[in-house]
């Protein structure tokens, strides 16, 4: 379990990192919590490794009334403890263990795009986006950037919209409107494991405390985070009178879980419904208290 040979790059600033990415085919190393095991098991053999850990300008968490922008080097634990976004906080407490959260990065987790991971679901349910940069030498000096919305960002299991010459420099998680509650529920085999299934929910109530919008994103039950808008199933009712069974039926119908060595597809389908009900009602309660 030693990695195959690779050339190691340690750029000092973003421009240098992008220039390297423009010139070679490699993998970006940030927290390394997925990449290093993949290298050690020789499941991946990149010729170049671009270590961005020295680029301090990426280690940022910026909060504005619009939302929170998490830089590529912000660690899970920093974001978790920053209180920058309630749903991010709820999700991050479910990500692995503190030692892993001290190294792993939020943006790295998004780019890794594991369909069983929590953070892609958070980005998806919030309609957030990822900012991708590439070398701008050809067009001038400034890096060329594009923002990709969550719906387009996750393209398949462990696949994202990041192109080989691009670096994901930040992720944007929109702020929550007033009278909005969130919740993240999941079932994992062990504390901190990838979930067998999980659901995060965002519920916004209107001025009369009726459900104005309700969305969930589900993990572990499809190739990418499965986002389901259940606003219409809530039928504009007060949260207390919503038929959650009908709502969770809609969620189940939108997912396509597969079986594996840890759980059958039928069990996962059951779980996603149960968890959606729990997450939505909890989010609705929280919204009412907001």
């Amino acid at each position: 379990m030693k990695p195959p040979p690779f050339e190691y790059h340690a750029p000092r600033d973003l421009g240098e990192a992008l220039r390297i990415l423009a010139g070679v085919r490699g993998k970006v190393l940030a927290g390394g919590q997925s990449l290093i095991p993949l290298l050690n098991m020789r499941l991946m053999a990149p010729e170049h490794l671009i270590d961005i850990n020295r680029i301090e300008s990426l280690a940022t968490i910026e909060t504005t009334p619009r939302g929170v922008t998490v830089g590529a080097l912000a660690r899970h634990s920093e974001v978790e403890h920053s209180g920058a976004h309630p749903l991010l906080g709820q999700a991050l407490r479910l990500v692995a263990h503190p030692v892993i959260r001290n190294r792993g990065t939020v943006v790295g987790s998004l780019v890794h795009a594991d369909p069983a991971a929590e953070l892609p679901a958070v980005l998806a349910v919030l309609n957030g986006s990822v900012r991708l940069a590439r070398d701008g030498a050809a067009a001038g000096d400034a890096p060329l950037v594009r923002d990709v919305g969550a719906a387009e960002f996750f393209t398949g299991p462990l696949e994202s919209a990041v192109r080989p010459d691009e670096l994901a420099v930040s992720a944007f998680f929109p702020a929550l409107p007033a009278r909005t509650g969130t919740a993240f529920r999941e079932v994992a085999r062990r504390h901190g494991d990838y979930a067998l299934a999980g659901v995060c929910a965002v519920v916004t109530l209107d001025d009369d405390l009726r459900v104005g919008s309700a969305r969930v994103a589900c993990v572990g039950v499809g190739p990418v985070p499965i986002t389901v808008d259940v606003t219409s199933e809530c039928d504009g009712r007060p949260a207390a009178t919503v038929d959650w069974a009908a709502v969770t039926r809609a969620v189940r119908e939108a997912t396509e879980p597969e079986g594996d060595i840890h759980a059958t597809a039928a069990y996962r389908l059951r779980l996603v419904g149960v968890l959606a009900g729990q997450a939505l009602s909890e989010a609705a309660r929280e919204a009412a208290a907001d």
């Binding site: 030693k2 085999r189 759980a263 059958t264």
Partner: protein, 782 residues
């Protein structure tokens, strides 16, 4: 006043070293050694047609590449079958490197030596092995049908078949007793594979200086590894030394020896004249070491209205994997220890050890007992359920009484000796357990259940262990024993024994284990035997030292030895404490000297003393020095016992299973150190929780292990292990001087049975297969 440390919860003396990173494990040694990596079979069953190493030869830092063809005759022989048995008619072991056929994924095929492990792995990746895939034999029952063979010359894939039968008092066989019983039940039980999974994998470091070979191995038996290496490499035994450094857990897998690497690494070191090291990585450990537990059991039981078992007939299919290097110890233990604390009318047990194209099976903590206990305890629960009786009542009616010891189960145990229980008090233990968990007050509810499991564990198997104790002239006591340590706390408990026996402060006692330079005769650390075997041997050696110390001190103090005691490192005249002599001085006087290398030594030189001119300085039959060596060799095993109970809650929606409380009553005879015993129990229960709720080896139809990493092989974290409540019962063993019984495996043994019992109680669904996951419980509900 005596130095009374036996029985005290003395803090583990090894912990400051081990917990602050000062431990020296195998991979901490030999920083400049050449590194070994192996090309291992990716196929479960295949013929090796050709090995092309050409591409690897260009790797910078490559030193050597070896295949079976390169091995000298002695080295290339099949590995030894360690424990032959007449019933093991078709025992098979692997070659150190595959010869023609590979029989499981992970079998070593090519050995690569390079300047570091990275380069060795690079070279491995470039070696092309041409395999002709053969049809794999996977799945215990499929293998037992024998349509495909793991070994061409083993018909039906049956390595061994053994029947043991004990007739009833009335002379009925088990089948007849079942037939004659008022009630009968038949059922099938399944237990899946798991593995020892020590935190530190295996590893070997070898150094050859032209005449002497020193080997470090992460092993549970350095003495036997030494003999195996000397035999395989044709070296005189005095020129081979083997040391077990700090070992990060064994749990059974490291008692197997010699591993291929334990022969190949020293052989390469001799050939290359360089230090050579192999450190197993986790992936190798999953597919190249050993697993255990997999069995299918068919049970028929006959019983009366009270639940008394009149006849029990058990047929076991035991998955032995591809080879049988450790013989059939595991299914023998299952067969015999299945009986637990019970008096069974008539008992017949039959097992077939079946070859499959999977990793070989050798003992893992518990070593067949968890399966046997699962069988018997499921049987007890089913009888209780059938009769509508309390599960503890059914057990109690079958208990061997406290006045029935020694109790002869009339079977042959794993040590080849009669299965005779030496002591115990099962009714009292059950009373204590019911009180501890609150059995009679438990409020059952849907999704909330209580379970119980009882076991008897034969511990401290022979043939022997030894101890050497030396008091040096600085007053320090040096204890050595040949068996090895893997974190159990031997440095503490053996020091407690020596300090108590010799009357010295524990701070003056040091303990060395597993180093053949210090003690050459030993068996090893397994089968909950270290405390029983080496503990008693060390106590006996201490008693020799004590007798000699008293004799020498009596001369010096002009007193009768019978009037002397040793306390706080002083030999004193009873009732006259001012008349004393330090043990350090006794040590000086015990060694007649010519040369005074320091002031203390001067007291023992030829012109210093009042030694009689008419006697030789060292009397006939005596030896110089204050030291003693003795051995303990028991007539048979001593039988510890325990009973566990658990309360579990199951989630009605998600089928998650939560262990709310876990209670253990445990009897390992006299306790040397209750804190260490509790630690052993906690660790055992943790492994038991793993076996009950999390761990399995998932092989697909091609013989590929699908979960060969800690991401998918689910060992429980601290968050999954319940708080363990313990109580001790002490029924001393009459078989050994210290009255102790083994405790190492106890915690793990009944856990699957207990958890199954509790889930069954909570759910009202019979649980006949372990482990069980939420997904499986969900499927059982629907």
């Amino acid at each position: 006043m005596t130095t009374r440390l036996f029985g005290e919860p003395v803090q583990r003396r090894e912990d400051p070293r081990l917990l602050t990173g000062q431990g020296r494990y195998l991979d901490d040694l030999g920083a400049d050694a050449l590194a070994v990596a192996f090309v291992r079979s990716p196929h479960a069953h295949a013929r090796v047609r050709d090995i092309d190493v050409t591409a690897a030869l260009d790797v910078e830092g490559l030193i050597a590449v070896y295949t079976w063809e390169d091995l000298p005759e002695r080295v290339g022989r099949p590995l030894p079958l360690l424990i032959p048995h007449p019933a093991l008619t078709h025992g098979r072991t692997a070659y150190p490197l595959a010869r023609e056929i590979v029989r499981h994924v992970g079998e070593p095929v090519v050995m690569v030596v390079a300047t570091d492990r990275y380069l060795a792995e690079d070279a491995c990746a470039l070696i092309e092995v041409d395999y002709e895939p053969l049809k794999p034999v996977v799945g215990l029952e499929e293998a037992a049908h024998g349509a495909q063979l793991v070994h061409e010359d083993v018909p039906g894939n049956v390595g061994a078949h053994l029947v043991q039968e004990v007739t009833s008092a009335a002379g009925l066989g088990a089948a007849e007793a079942v037939e004659a019983a008022p009630h009968r039940l038949s059922f099938r039980l399944d237990i899946e594979r798991s593995a020892s999974m020590p935190l530190e994998g295996r590893g070997v470091l070898a150094r050859w200086d032209g005449s002497d070979l020193r080997v470090y191995s992460s092993t549970q038996t350095s003495t036997s590894v030494r003999m195996a290496i000397a035999a395989a490499l044709g070296l005189p035994l005095p020129h081979v030394e083997v040391i077990a450094p700090d070992v990060g857990g064994g749990f059974g897998v490291k008692i197997v020896h010699p591993w291929p690497e334990e022969i190949l690494v020293p052989w390469a070191a001799m050939l290359l004249g360089r230090e050579v090291k192999w450190t197993e990585d986790r992936r190798e450990h999953f597919v190249s070491s050993a697993h255990e537990r997999g069995q299918v059991q068919h049970v028929t039981v006959g019983f009366d209205d009270e639940g008394r078992v009149l006849g029990l007939d058990v047929s076991i299919l035991h998955d032995h994997g591809a080879y049988t290097p450790y013989g059939i110890i595991v299914p023998i233990i299952t067969s015999t220890q299945l009986l637990g604390p019970y008096r069974i009318g008539a008992y017949r047990v039959e097992f077939s050890a079946i070859y499959t194209n999977t990793v070989q099976v050798t003992p893992y903590r518990g070593a067949g007992r968890p399966q046997g206990v699962f069988c018997m305890e499921r049987t007890m629960d089913k009888i209780a359920r059938y009769l509508g009786r309390d599960r503890t009542e059914v057990r109690a009616v079958n208990f061997i009484g406290p006045d029935e010891f020694p109790y002869d189960q009339k079977m042959t145990f794993q040590d080849g000796r009669p299965l005779i229980y030496d002591s115990g008090d099962y009714p009292e233990m059950l009373r204590m357990l019911k009180e501890l968990i609150g059995w009679d007050d438990f409020r059952r509810a849907p999704g909330r259940g209580i379970g119980i499991g009882c076991y008897v564990e034969g511990t401290g198997v022979g043939p022997y262990e030894g101890g050497h104790v030396q008091v040096t002239s600085d007053g320090r006591v040096h204890v050595s024993t040949g068996l090895t340590s893997q974190g159990q706390g031997h440095e503490t408990v053996f020091a407690q024994i020596a300090a108590t026996e010799l009357g010295v402060p524990i701070e003056r006692v040091s303990v060395v284990t597993g180093d053949t330079r210090r003690f050459g005769y030993a068996v090893g650390t397994f089968a909950s035997r270290a405390a029983v075997m080496s503990g008693n041997a060390i106590a006996l050696a201490c008693r020799k030292v004590r007798a000699k110390a008293l004799r020498i001190a009596a001369d010096a103090l002009e007193a009768d030895p019978a009037d002397l005691e040793i306390a706080d490192g002083l030999v004193r005249v009873l009732g006259a404490p001012s008349a004393s002599i330090p043990l350090s001085t006794v040590a000086v006087l015990a060694n007649p000297l010519r040369y005074a290398f320091d002031d203390e030594a001067a007291r023992a030189t030829q012109f210093a003393g009042a030694a009689s001119p008419d006697r030789p300085p060292v009397a006939e039959g005596d030896e110089p020095g204050l030291e003693g060596r003795d051995y303990y060799s028991p007539i048979r095993s001593t039988f510890a016992s325990g009973m566990h109970a658990a309360i579990v809650e199951t989630d009605p929606d998600t089928a998650e299973i939560r262990v709310v409380r876990y209670a253990v009553v445990h009897d390992c005879g006299r306790l040397i150190n209750p804190m260490i015993v509790e630690g052993q129990i906690h660790g055992g229960v943790a492994q038991g929780i793993g076996g009950a709720l999390y761990e399995r080896m998932v092989y697909d139809g091609h013989g590929q292990l699908l979960n060969a990493s800690f991401m998918d092989f689910l060992m429980p974290y601290a968050t999954e292990v319940p708080h363990v409540e313990t109580a001790h019962l002490e029924t001393p063993s009459p078989l050994n001087p210290l009255g102790i019984k083994g405790a190492g495996e106890a915690g793990v043994i009944p856990v699957s049975a207990v958890i199954a019992s509790a889930i069954e109680d909570a759910e009202g669904i019979e649980i006949d297969r372990m482990p069980i996951s939420p997904s499986e419980l969900f499927e059982l509900r629907h």
